[in-house]
Each structure stands twice: as C-alpha cells, then as structure tokens.
C-alpha cells in the first residue's frame, strides 16, 4: 500500500513539474508591471516606462551591391592593372528622433561569392565619410580604420559609396567578388 501511495505521489509530482516547466518555457504567464514611486505622486503608476527619443528607426542597404567584374582579360599578373573602377551607392536613412553615430564594424569578403585571391584597393567615399579605407584583400577581412563618422542627423539620409581598382594579383577569369558589412549605430 505504501508503495502504491509513493507511486501516485511521484506521478503527480512529475506531472505538476512538467506542466510548470512547459508554462515557463513558452513565457505564457502574462505579467504586466507598473512602475511608479510612492514619493512622487505626479508619476502615473499605470503608465508604461518611457524613454523619449530612444527608439532607433533606421533603413540601410542590405548588401554592398558591388559585384566587380574583371574586364581585362586574360590576366592581371603582379602589377598595377587598368582594371575597372567600380563604385556603388548605399544608403542609410535615419528616421529616429535623435542623431546617431554610424560606424563600420566589419567589411568582409563574402565567401559564398566567387572570389579569387587578388588585391583590391577600396575607398570609402561620401559626403560624411571621405576617409580612405585602406587596402583589403578580396578574400580577407577589412583591416583598416573603423572610426566613428560624423553623426547622422535625425530625419535625414546619408548616401555613401565604395570605389576601387585592381592593383595587383593573378586573375585569369572574370569574377564577381562580393562583400558584406556590419554597420554600428549609437545614439
């Protein structure tokens, strides 16, 4: 009889724990909190916490859109090439209520795209970021300066661009390197 009671109690416990665990993992317990201070009656305890002008609202390009096709055939071998300059425009729109700083966190060759080892000089251009990015390798990561640029004003757009030229390397076919980048935003 004791054994039976033990089994029933254990089963109920397991069942109960299971239910509470499932409820916790789904976050299904609807909890609403109110913030107020007893010492300051002017604060509405039923109002949600508010932080004015703290919402980011940004639109940015999802890719560098720079698929460089080599038109000098057959080879560029270890020398300065008269390969094509190529540039693209990208855009960031700041619809936030406050100015934000924009930084370039990373600039990386897209390993999925066809990329043949070659050097490419890249320059970040634009009315707010005219600093040279330095040199990067087609298949490598950008290692140049990543300083913050001038603030991007609220309710304004910033068009920036990349331009570049083949400078050295060994290439025997057309290729279309692509880059992905990470932008950093900060109030």
């Amino acid at each position: 009889m004791k054994k039976t009671i033990c089994i029933i109690v254990a089963s109920v416990l397991v069942f109960g724990l299971s239910i509470s665990a499932f409820a916790e993992t789904t976050g299904d317990i609807d909890v609403t909190g109110h913030i107020g201070t007893s010492g300051d009656p002017t604060i509405d305890p039923d109002a949600d916490p508010d932080a004015p002008d703290s919402d980011y609202d940004l639109t940015f390009s999802t890719s560098v859109h720079w698929w460089v096709t080599q038109i000098t055939y057959p080879n560029i071998v270890n020398g300065t090439a008269s390969g094509p300059d190529s540039s693209v425009s990208n855009k960031i729109v700041n619809n936030s209520a406050a100015d934000i700083d924009v930084s370039l966190v990373s600039f990386t060759g897209d390993s999925v795209a066809q990329s043949i080892a070659s050097n490419l000089t890249l320059y970040l251009t634009g009315n707010l970021a005219a600093d040279s990015m330095g040199t990067t390798n087609i298949a490598g990561d950008y290692t140049g300066p990543l300083a913050y640029t001038a603030p991007l004003a609220a309710d304004s757009a910033w068009t920036y661009g990349f331009s570049g030229q083949y400078t050295a390397g060994s290439v025997n076919t057309s290729y279309t390197p692509a880059y992905v980048m990470t932008l950093g935003f900060e109030f």
Binding site: S18, A51, Y56, T62
Partner: protein
Amino acid sequence: MASKTNKLGHKRIWIIMIILLLLAAGLYGLFNRKTNDTDYLIGAGVKTGSLDDDDSGNTDPSSNGKSSMRVKLNGKPIFADGKSEGSLNIENPAENELYMQVEIKLNQTGDIVYSSGAIPPNHYIDKDMLSKVLRKGEYEATAYVTLFDQDNPDTIYNSANFKLIITVLN
C-alpha cells in the same frame, strides 16, 4: 483474494500513470509547436502588425524589396526588475521583405541576455523578458540584428549592431 485485489489496484495505478504521461506529452506538444511551416522558429513574444498606430507617414520611400531594410528598436529598454518584461520595441516593418533576428549581449561580460527568434515583416515585439535575470542597474549592451531570406537562407546580407542601455529599476 487479497492478491487479486492488489493486482487490480496496481493495474489502475499503471493506467492512471499512462494517462498522466499522455496528458503531459500532449501539453508538451501544444506548448512547443512551431507557429509556422518554415524552418525558422518565430519567437513567443512576436506579434503581428506595427508598433505605431499609423506608420504610413514615416515610411522610407527608397525602401525597395530586399535591397534595403528598415529596423526599429528601443535603444534604452527599461525593466521594472530582472524578471519583468521590458520595453524592447523591436519591429520588422511591413515594407521589408527579409526576416530579422535580434540577439542582445552585455558588453562587459558577453552574456547573451535576449534572443528574439525570427521576426517576419509586419511583426513586432513590444515587451519581453530577458533570458537572464539582471540586478538593479544600468548595463551597456549591443543588439545584433541579422537579416535572412527564408526562401534563400544561404544568401548573406549586411547586418547591424545597435548600442543599448538596459536599465533595471529594482
């Protein structure tokens, strides 16, 4: 006779246990089912629509398909305490075509304190709890926003990092 009654009692107990287990399994399935037919798990806090009642006047006209992405989130989320929901205000507006995902890490420790799951266009998360209980204070953190195309998951898109100040009041 006593032995027969005892056997019957055991049988009933087993039946009750099986019913309880089946119930538990059913509930598990109910709470853990995927909310769509894709491979991406949409977060529990994701809601359909926009955070703004009327967002039509604030739409970027240059947005076009998958070539650009509009992202909205609160740079200074506030939590009543470490176990409360906070004002994250993350939104993937309807004008976008890509899905987005947000992961928040504390700058000092690198701890992941929030992961949104997939957020389809025209969906938002207004409030949610952090996955880690934080004590009272202000925390510098970074929201890592990644984009993906559910039809072409191998395509890599630019990403964005947003500096956050997380405030836990109590």
